[in-house]
């Protein structure tokens, strides 16, 4: 559609270019963490608490130490002196926030089933696992806190040093009087409560670590399957008390992250500490069971959302109240995850009054933290489910209630009631197009026919319109939210003597295809072939400055830094070219990789000539340094706000409770697209991940805090058989936040799809009087909802 503000029109950018990452990944040539050949490495295995809450008594390691290949066994107490500080939480959302001591190996008490209580070091991974079996720990089980309301009641206090299970209360209520007045005068007052089950991120590659020390000069190289080598370097050095300049962190090929590798984990610190103790390489590869029990989990919230609206269903206020499960400890950014949604509980609707509060509590369950979307899926779910409830209350269709409330296009940039400025938006066309793609009217007619015919397989239609804030983030905004770091990104562009290009980025890809997209951007700017651009990343010795990849930030922040660095290189090349052509810089044009003098087409010099001239430095203008290289650190002035509308069509078998996907349409707008093929890929995967929350995935804990879905046989990551082909389309509304007019797309699919599917499930069951179905909408859950509503069939 509109294609204004696109600096790349007519270039490689915007075309579906195949990925340069693929050949290595398709042939087994890529090296993931467990693939690294590190001769002589010792392996560790963690002995983990089988209890959710227990005092740790005597630990008998004698049988373990007698096992072939076992070198040593360490308890939490043995290693207590190895830590300069606890595992870090970088987001103390309030000054009063309670943050319990969190050591890499627990001392005194285990606080979730999976908490490490001892570590076995051995000469092979098999021997380490054998040794761990032989460690006998004397536990005194304590009552486990697993329910959020129970946790908030402080009936059992988990952390003595906190004195309460409430970590923090965080309010965002810009104008309480306006909210109160709106609800007082509301023609419609909708109150809904929703539960977000715990989710296991489950990237296909489990985590892994290898710490390679150089004992005599004090260097340490830490390999980790992480999204955040740069953050890990700072935090790892601080936690271990080692000089930061001596620590190099390398993320090899990373097999997916989805937020769960956006953390500083016990095993990273344990491997480094033990590498120091043993004077050699110490490594660990997570088992899938450990990935379930001991890596962070996502979501885990109880929500209450209230909408006030006038007689026509026009929203006048939104009030959201959350109870958020932090789990047993505060991981890296866990307290801030609900805050990333705090500004979005009014969705993409024009609402004058707004209130949000969140209480974060501890439980004896695995720690939670950022999981694809982090806060925004929860917010979008609440408002989009509640909008369907409002539509019913007002007596209009769900598309109509949305159209009446969308922020009008002429209001952008839009001052949101939560205090943000939405950069750009044009929402109605995404709804119109999504309806077309699923034949909304036809499906509604089919639904009515089935109902009239008394069919037991009902059809349901669900809409989800969303806006999200991503491109984390303006550093000053992060400061206002008490976040412990900035939100900038760094890039260096280097034109080599032969006019090949090296790009160094602080973004850290783990499947997103940065090498391809970054090459396309630079290629268009410089007029070179994308294959002549090499993108270097994920190693703090090569890319020393960076804030890494999460929060759909790579392109809008890291990509912008890259774009600016390339412009800076062109500026320098222009100065040199002007000298070579004996012209002034203002008279030069740069196009297709060649500098030419305006009006004198025969006077030109290719970039290759300038690059070689900059390298030989034989004849540079006075004051110009040799070589063509520029570095830029970009701190964005605002977030970016992608948006769109997704529609799900489902069939619900009332007799079996089975939900089947019938159709799915997604119309998204992430501004200008660099590589539409990659955008679609991100959407496909993201949508399925969100659908999985709605229909299949559930980290089920029992009342004792035992994880009942700790394997991929029990935790239902969808396979191809459950999924369907999705229909995708897009609109283009460029962002004004950055010069490329781009927005993030990594999380949009996950944010949008969960409420679309659940709205469809509830829509199918509405004749039963059903207004909510708990996620995941498994056959059992659906049947129980039907039975509770008095339906038999």
């Amino acid at each position: 559609m509109t294609d204004t503000m696109n600096p790349f029109a007519g270039g490689i950018v915007g075309t579906p270019r195949l990925r340069k990452e693929d050949p290595a990944l398709l042939t087994g040539e890529s090296k993931f963490i467990d693939d690294l050949n590190l001769p002589g490495a010792l392996w560790i295995s963690c002995v983990r608490s089988p209890y959710a809450h227990a005092r740790i008594g005597a630990i008998d390691a004698s049988a373990a130490l007698a096992t072939d290949g076992v070198v040593a066994v360490y308890t939490g107490a043995d290693l207590e002196g190895d830590w300069a500080g606890p595992l870090p939480c970088a987001w103390p959302v309030t000054d009063e926030m309670k943050n319990p001591a969190h050591l890499p190996v627990a001392v005194g008490k285990a606080n979730f089933a999976g908490d490490a209580v001892a570590v076995v070091v051995a000469t092979s991974r098999y021997a380490a696992a054998d040794g761990a079996e032989g460690v006998v720990v004397d536990y005194e089980p304590l009552e486990a806190v697993v329910d959020l309301d129970d946790a908030a009641s402080d009936r059992v206090v988990i952390h003595d040093d906190c004195g309460t299970n409430v970590s923090y209360d965080w309010p965002l209520v810009p104008d309480p009087d306006a909210v109160a007045a709106a609800f007082e005068n509301a023609a419609h007052h909708v109150t809904e409560t929703y539960v977000h089950q715990r989710l296991i991120p489950a990237p296909m590659e489990p985590r892994g670590v290898a710490a390679v020390p150089a004992p005599h000069n004090g260097d340490m190289t830490l390999y980790s399957s992480t999204q955040i080598p740069h953050v890990l370097k700072v935090m790892g050095a601080l936690t271990l008390g080692m000089p930061e300049q001596k620590l190099r962190v390398i993320a090899p090929s990373v097999g997916g992250g989805f937020g769960c590798k956006l953390n500083v984990y016990a095993e990273e610190l344990i491997c480094m500490a033990l590498a120091n103790r043993h004077g050699g390489t110490v490594r660990w590869t997570e088992t899938r069971t450990e990935a379930a029990t001991s890596t962070i989990q996502g979501r885990a919230q109880k929500q209450t959302i209230e909408l006030a609206a006038d007689a026509d269903g026009k929203l006048t206020a939104v009030r959201a109240t959350l109870l958020a499960d932090m789990g047993a400890y505060l991981q890296l950014v866990a307290p801030g995850v609900p805050l990333l949604g705090a500004f979005l509980y009014h969705g993409l609707y024009d609402v004058p009054a707004y209130a949000f509060t969140c209480r974060g509590v501890f439980t004896n369950l695995a720690p939670t933290d950022a999981y694809r979307g982090a806060g925004r899926p929860e917010a979008t779910y609440a408002i989009e489910r509640a909008m369907d409830a409002l539509a019913v209350a007002v007596g209009v269709e769900p598309d109509e209630i949305r159209s009446r409330n969308y922020i009008p296009t002429e209001k952008f940039p839009y001052d949101s009631p939560a205090g943000l400025v939405f950069d750009s938006g044009n929402y109605q066309p995404t709804l119109d197009r999504a309806k077309e793609l699923v034949d909304w009217d036809g499906r509604r007619a089919e639904q009515a026919e089935r109902r009239a015919a008394g069919s037991t397989v009902q059809l349901g239609l669900g809409i989800s319109s969303y806006v999200e804030m991503c491109g984390l983030a303006p550093s000053r905004t992060l400061a206002a939210l008490n976040y412990g770091a900035g939100g900038w990104e760094s890039a260096t562009v280097r034109i080599l003597p032969t006019c090949k290009v090296q790009v160094v980025t602080g973004s850290t890809p783990h499947g997103q295809g940065h090498e391809t997209s970054w090459s396309m951007i630079v290629a268009d700017q410089l007029g070179v072939d994308p294959d002549d651009v090499e993108v270097l990343h994920s190693d703090t010795a090569i890319s020393p400055m960076g804030m890494d990849t999460y929060g759909s930030r790579s392109l809008s922040v890291g990509g912008t830094a890259l774009w600016m660095a390339t412009e800076k290189v062109i500026d320098k090349a222009r100065t040199i070219a002007a000298h070579m052509l004996e012209a002034s810089t203002e008279d030069l044009e740069f196009s297709g990789g060649t500098f030419s003098v305006k009006g004198s087409p025969d006077k030109e010099v290719p970039l290759a000539g300038v690059a070689f001239g900059a390298f030989t430095a034989h004849d540079l203008p006075d004051g110009v340094e040799p070589n063509l290289e520029a570095q830029v650190t970009w701190d964005p002035g605002n977030f970016v706000f992608p948006f769109g509308t997704h529609i799900a069509v489902v069939e619900v078998d009332e007799e079996t409770g089975a939900v089947e996907l019938v159709d799915y349409a997604a119309v998204d707008d992430c501004g200008n697209q660099i590589n539409p093929m990659i955008v679609e890929g991100q959407l496909h995967g993201g949508i399925v991940q969100g659908i999985a929350q709605a229909l299949w995935e559930d980290a089920v804990y029992d009342d004792d805090g035992q994880l009942r879905s700790a394997s991929l046989a029990d935790y239902l990551v969808p396979s191809a058989a459950e999924c369907i082909d999705m229909k995708l389309d897009h609109t283009v509304t460029p962002s004004g936040t950055n010069p490329m007019g781009v927005k993030g797309i990594g999380e949009a699919g996950t944010i949008a799809s969960t409420p679309a599917v659940m709205n469809a499930v509830v829509d199918a069951l509405r004749p039963h009087g059903i207004t909510d179905v708990r996620m995941p909408a498994s056959p059992m859950t659906v049947r129980r909802a039907i039975e509770a509503a008095g339906g038999s069939s």
């Binding site: 398709l26 296909m204 997916g256 899938r288 991929l712």
Partner: protein, 150 residues
């Protein structure tokens, strides 16, 4: 115990612990790290290889069980003239992102296409049920397998 396995056309003999999984034998003994391990319950399929031409999850097989067999891993798929048609189709259809499930997915797909004629999308989806991908939502994987099956 002594085992002798023909891996990617070369016969390899080794003395292994009886409990050694084929996946670990390929990765740790032979250095063929293209075969990935993603779970401990035979659920994810990242470790899929071909044993005597049929797909098998190498984390579920003891090395001893394939004594005398022919094993093909992802490293043995591409020839001197470039990528195998299935690898090429995955590339052209953007059927991979992080790439961790990819070797297993490709091997399973090669076996599927070899075993069934006239595959349709539904057949591909059911046929690849034992291989999980967290990145792609499967849409482009199905597209790639259908393209390669033609």
């Amino acid at each position: 115990m002594e085992v002798s396995v023909t891996v990617n056309g070369t016969t390899r003999s080794a003395d292994v612990e009886p409990r050694t999984l084929l996946a670990h034998f390929l990765r740790d003994e032979l250095g063929l790290t293209g075969t990935n391990i993603g779970c401990d319950t035979s659920s994810c399929g990242a470790c899929t290889v071909l044993v005597d031409g049929r797909s098998a999850k190498s984390c579920t097989l003891l090395t001893a069980q394939v004594d005398g067999a022919e094993v093909t891993t992802i490293e043995g798929l591409a020839g001197a003239d470039g990528l195998h048609p299935m690898q090429q189709a995955f590339h052209e259809c953007h059927a991979l992102q992080c790439g961790y499930c990819t070797p297993g997915m490709v091997m399973a797909a090669v076996s599927l296409v070899d075993e069934y004629e006239n595959l349709d999308a539904a057949g591909v989806r059911v046929g690849l049920e034992g291989n999980l991908c967290r990145c792609t939502g499967y849409q482009n994987i199905v597209k790639a397998v259908l393209a390669a099956s033609e």
